[in-house]
Each structure stands twice: as structure tokens, then as C-alpha cells.
Amino acid sequence: MSDWLGMSAKPMMPRPALKTQVLARALAARRLPRWGLAAAAGLALAVAAGAVWAGLTARRLTTEVARLEDAVRRYQDTLSLIRSPGSRVIHIPVTTGGRVGAITIFADDVSHRWLVACRNLAPNRPDQAYQLWFITETGMKSAAVMPMDSDHPMVMALEMPKDGGHVMGAAMSIEARGGSAEPKGPMVFHMHL
């Protein structure tokens, strides 16, 4: 009811030019939010896309940095074994599947670790793997099982066994894919250091 009270005020005829101004402003004000809304939506979309891109990039870079850090650690570890004053280098030519390759062992008696590099070994059959052995005073102890599905070079660091006494040498055989408790398959090399 009380809103009808506004009609108690005497009417005033607006200036003729006012209608055009008022309607133009009203219509423009209505259109502006639509345009502004579209612009704001576009801007928000762009910002969101940018944020997603930045997030993905940051995640990719973080992963890449972690990968590189891990690689650097491995290279530093490898280098420390090679440069260790207690390291001896044993180069063992081998023939696998009619292919001439080599096993290179950096044996560090100080840190009791070996760095083993295998180059140009024939790939294993799907049910087989190379297995590296430590020759100790008490017998052969498994050092690593190395399934090779390609002929890419392989490098690995190995801890020497803490039991079994002095490590006297190394051997490699071809065993079942999951490895064996003792050498049963064809011997690739067998060498006392």
C-alpha cells in the first residue's frame, strides 16, 4: 500500500530530450554487463587456463628436477667409485650369443662396493636373465639378476656381501628369469680377482 503513496506527488513532465538520454543509458547499462560478463568470463577462463598451464609446467619441471637430481646422485656415486683410491678395474671380455662384449668391474675394497658395467651383451631369451655372482670363501653368492631385453649397456652399483668371508672373484651365468640360488646355467665368465 505505502508504495502507492509515491503517486501522491505531483507529476513532472520530463524534458523531451531526457527520454532519449535515460533510455540510452538504461539500454547501454544493460548491455554493458553482458559484454563485461563475457569479457570477465573470458578473462577468468584465460587466468584459469594459465593457472592450469603453470601448474602442469611446475609439476613437469618439479618431476624433471627430481629426475635430474637422482641422475646427478647416481653419476656422483659412480664417479666416487671410479675415483676411489681403493678401486681396482677388472676388464673381462665375454662372448654371448656369438656376440663379443665386455664386463668392466670397478671393485672398491674401501667402501666394499662394486660398479659393474656390461656392454654389448646379447639380449636374454624371455625366460632367461644374466645373473652375477660373488665368489667368496664359502661359495657363490648372488650379486644381481640382470634380465636384458635389449643390447643397451648396463651399469649397476653393488654392495659386497657382508657374510661369506673375503670376495675372491666374480662370475656371470645365464639363469631362469627370476634368478637362481646357485649357478646352474651356462657360465658367461668366471674369474678370480
Binding site: M1, L5, M7, A9, K10, M13, L27, R30
Partner: protein
């Protein structure tokens, strides 16, 4: 004398439908119907043509932008628009009051109010739709006892709170509330048929 135009409920519904359908011509028609009343109300509150025209412009901007919020079930379009106009005008009045609070110009404004200055541009009845409603509302207002009409005018056209009216009239707050309640009941009864007509 030409009779002022009145809109039936069906015509009002059609106009609202077209406004909600974003038909720009409908806004022009609404302006032709209501601009004199919106401007008159704004002038009645502000007593300044420039400010009243700004209010008129603001009202139509708001109506066009928010016509979708008008709920026909809660009342006709005209009171809704008049309430927007009143609120806009009172906002302007309050801003002005803050600026004038310590100025001598305030005294001039009050003096003009006492003289009940009417704008010169009072149009002829036939040129403005809505005169019958105007006369009915004025008659309902005039039928109120002076003390009731006074509090209604202070509340509606000056936007004063109950406490401010009580201070202005030097009356107890309870008396002001009672007078307002009785006045509104009388006005509601006298004007209840207006819901059947737009203007």
C-alpha cells in the same frame, strides 16, 4: 477533456512480459507511462530538478537491469518502481543532508519546504497517464488527520526513522508508531482497489 490513459491488468502483464523479454520498445512505453510520476516523486523528495532527473535515469537503469526480479505475485509493477524511485531519492537526500549538515544552505532548504514550493512544470492532466490514481492517493492522504498525515509524509518523503520523527515533532516514540500504524491501516483500506490497475 481527454481521459488519462489507464492500463488494465492484462495490458500490465503484457508490458511486463515484453520487458522481461528484453523488448527495448517496451521500456520506452514504460517511460511514457511512468516517467512523470517517478520524476515528480523524486522532485517531491529532493526539490531539485537536476537530482530528480538523475534519480529518474537511475530508476530506469535499475528497472531494465532487474525487471526479472519483479514478482507479479507480490504486487503490481508501479509500486515496485515507485519504491525504487523513493529509495534512490532518499539515498540522494541523505547524501545531501550529510553535506549540508553544517552549512547555512540547510536553512534555505528548510525554508523552501515550509513554503511548500511546487515545481512550475506541473503538467496538464490529459498529458500524463495516472491522474486518477494520483487523485485517489492524494484524497486518501488528505483524509487522514493532520497528525497522522504528518508522520506519514515525514516517513515516506523524507525517509525519517520513527525516532527521528519523534524528535522532529517532539512527540513520544510510541505515539509516532501508533499514528503510523493507524495511518497505514487507513491508507491500505482506502487504496486496496489500486492493485487492480497499473495506473
Amino acid at each position: 477533456m481527454t481521459q488519462p490513459k489507464r492500463l488494465s491488468q492484462e495490458e500490465e502483464r503484457s508490458l511486463i512480459r515484453r520487458l522481461k523479454g528484453r523488448e527495448e520498445r517496451a521500456l520506452g512505453e514504460l517511460y511514457d507511462l511512468l516517467a512523470p510520476w517517478v520524476l515528480g516523486l523524486a522532485y517531491r523528495i529532493l526539490e531539485d530538478e537536476g537530482e530528480a532527473e538523475e534519480v529518474l535515469s537511475d530508476v530506469f537503469v535499475q528497472v531494465w537491469a532487474h525487471i526479472g526480479q519483479h514478482d507479479a505475485g507480490r504486487g503490481p509493477l508501479v509500486p515496485w518502481i515507485l519504491s525504487i524511485a523513493r529509495n534512490r531519492a532518499l539515498d540522494a537526500l541523505r547524501r545531501r543532508r550529510r553535506w549540508w549538515r553544517k552549512a547555512e544552505r540547510w536553512q534555505w532548504a528548510r525554508a523552501a519546504e515550509e513554503l511548500d514550493i511546487v515545481p512550475e512544470a506541473a503538467p496538464h492532466e490529459a498529458s500524463v497517464p495516472g491522474w486518477p490514481v494520483h487523485r485517489e492517493v492524494q484524497a486518501a492522504l488528505a483524509a487522514l488527520p493532520e497528525e497522522q498525515r504528518r508522520v506519514v509524509v515525514l516517513a515516506y518523503f523524507e525517509g525519517l526513522t520513527h525516532s527521528e520523527i519523534a524528535r522532529r515533532l517532539d512527540q513520544p516514540l510510541g505515539t509516532v508508531k501508533t499514528r503510523l500504524r493507524i495511518a497505514h491501516a487507513k491508507l491500505a483500506e482506502a487504496l486496496k482497489h489500486l492493485k487492480d490497475w497499473m495506473i
